[in-house]
């Protein structure tokens, strides 16, 4: 392979690489030796044994390198998978913690409401209730509409992804349009898949998922709204509904609006104050209910720049 003589063309780099993988240095060294032997010269006596020793040392170094690399790889692997498992575990644990805390907050809020109702006069309570309902901080009940949108059935292969992209997917923009249209036709309270919207709610996409207030919602999406009796018809006439209807016809997305009686929309999660602080320090004297701010584990969305 190395002594392929009489080549009249210069092969390109890759051809040369495939054809002649051995360092030409070995051949050159052998040639040199042969010439020395033919000329009757002996190689300097001290060089050959010392080179042999260096060669052996190189092999020792190589074995060392192999062992170290192997150990390194083996040591890194459990760390990597442990880190992944640990993160998944943490996510699950935080989710459970979050749910427990939300439930506790709900209980405490009900307790606070009861105490407040007892302390305040009737008209003040009524006014407070109204404000809470309007801002999304209180549970509300009433008649309204339910808008249901769902992704078109995907014909893409789940494993290979073949079959093209599904154009009939519900986007965060669609939900935003629906919510805005519902507000504009007089809705007083809106919830997406049970998640109540407030004036600071966000509907965003992260990857393929839609997040409402940073919590993922999955299809089919049900946007429930409480509002005046003619809201459903007026919503159907809105630009957003017409657009979604045409999209639904074209791409197989499902979209329907129905009137619903006696909807109950739960309260939104407490808004997180970022810049404002309450002016009045809550007095710790009243009742034995532990203050909810004392639990100290309220997770804050880190770096979720809105």
């Amino acid at each position: 392979m190395t002594d392929r003589g009489g080549r009249t063309f210069t092969p390109d780099f890759l051809t040369e690489l495939f054809r002649n993988p051995l360092d030409p240095g070995y051949a050159a060294a052998a040639e040199q030796r042969r010439r020395n032997a033919a000329a009757g010269r002996t190689v300097a006596g001290w060089r050959r044994p010392s080179m042999r020793v260096v060669s052996v040392l190189t092999l020792v170094a190589l074995g060392f390198l192999l062992a170290v690399a192997y150990r390194q790889t083996v040591a890194a692997e459990p760390g990597r998978s442990a880190a992944r498992a640990g993160l998944a575990e943490q996510i699950k644990q935080r989710e459970a913690e979050n749910a427990a805390l939300t439930a506790r907050a709900e209980r405490l809020r009900a307790e606070v409401n009861r105490q407040r109702d007892a302390a305040l006069s009737g008209s003040a309570v009524a006014r407070l209730r109204q404000l809470e309902a309007a801002t999304g901080l209180g549970r509300v009940r009433g008649d309204g509409v339910v808008v249901r949108v769902a992704d078109a059935p995907s014909n893409a292969d789940a494993v290979t992804g073949a079959g093209g992209t599904n154009l009939g997917r519900v986007l965060d923009r669609d939900l935003q349009d629906i919510a805005n249209a519902l507000w504009s036709v007089g809705a007083e309270a809106i919830a997406i898949n049970g998640q109540r919207l407030t004036s600071t709610s966000t509907i965003r996409a992260a990857g393929g998922a839609i997040l409402v207030d940073f919590k993922p919602v999955i299809g089919p999406y049900e946007v429930s709204a409480i509002g005046p009796g003619r809201m459903g018809r007026r919503f159907e006439d809105s630009a957003a509904a017409r657009l979604l209807r045409s999209v639904a016809e074209e791409y197989g997305m499902s979209f329907d609006v129905r009137d619903a009686d006696d909807l109950t929309l739960s309260a939104a999660t407490e808004p997180q104050l970022r810049y404002a602080v309450p002016d009045v320090e809550p007095s710790a004297s009243s009742s034995g209910v532990p203050s909810s701010s004392g639990s100290g584990v309220s997770p804050r969305p880190s770096g979720g720049g809105r």
Partner: protein
């Protein structure tokens, strides 16, 4: 015989000493191993061809490891470290395959 013993001694030393690799050098370890393997298979083939030379082996080993490391380091600095390590692995892999094929022909006549 002696080379095999030397290799084993190296492995034993590595296992026994269990040195901790500084994290800055860790990305270069796999590349260094591939480069070293290339030098070794080159050496084995030369041995079977009857033209083995100690100096050539030592120099090719050291330069292979160093050059591969430097290329990957340069790539890291330029932001194409992943691609350049792939390139190094491909080139060295081709050489290793070629040399192993020659060794196989020597050993099995096939």
């Amino acid at each position: 015989m002696i080379p095999v013993v030397a290799l084993l001694v190296g492995v034993v030393l590595g296992v026994w000493l269990d040195p901790s690799v500084p994290s800055a050098l860790q990305p270069y370890l796999p590349i260094a191993v591939v480069a070293a393997l290339d030098a070794v298979f080159g050496g084995v083939r030369a041995k079977l061809d009857g033209i083995f030379d100690d100096k050539q082996f030592v120099v090719s080993f050291i330069s292979n490891v160093l050059v591969a490391g430097i290329i990957v380091y340069l790539g890291d600095q330029l932001g194409v470290g992943g691609q350049l390590s792939t390139g190094v692995v491909v080139v060295l892999g081709v050489r290793i395959f070629g040399n192993v094929a020659a060794i196989r022909r020597h050993l099995f006549r096939a």
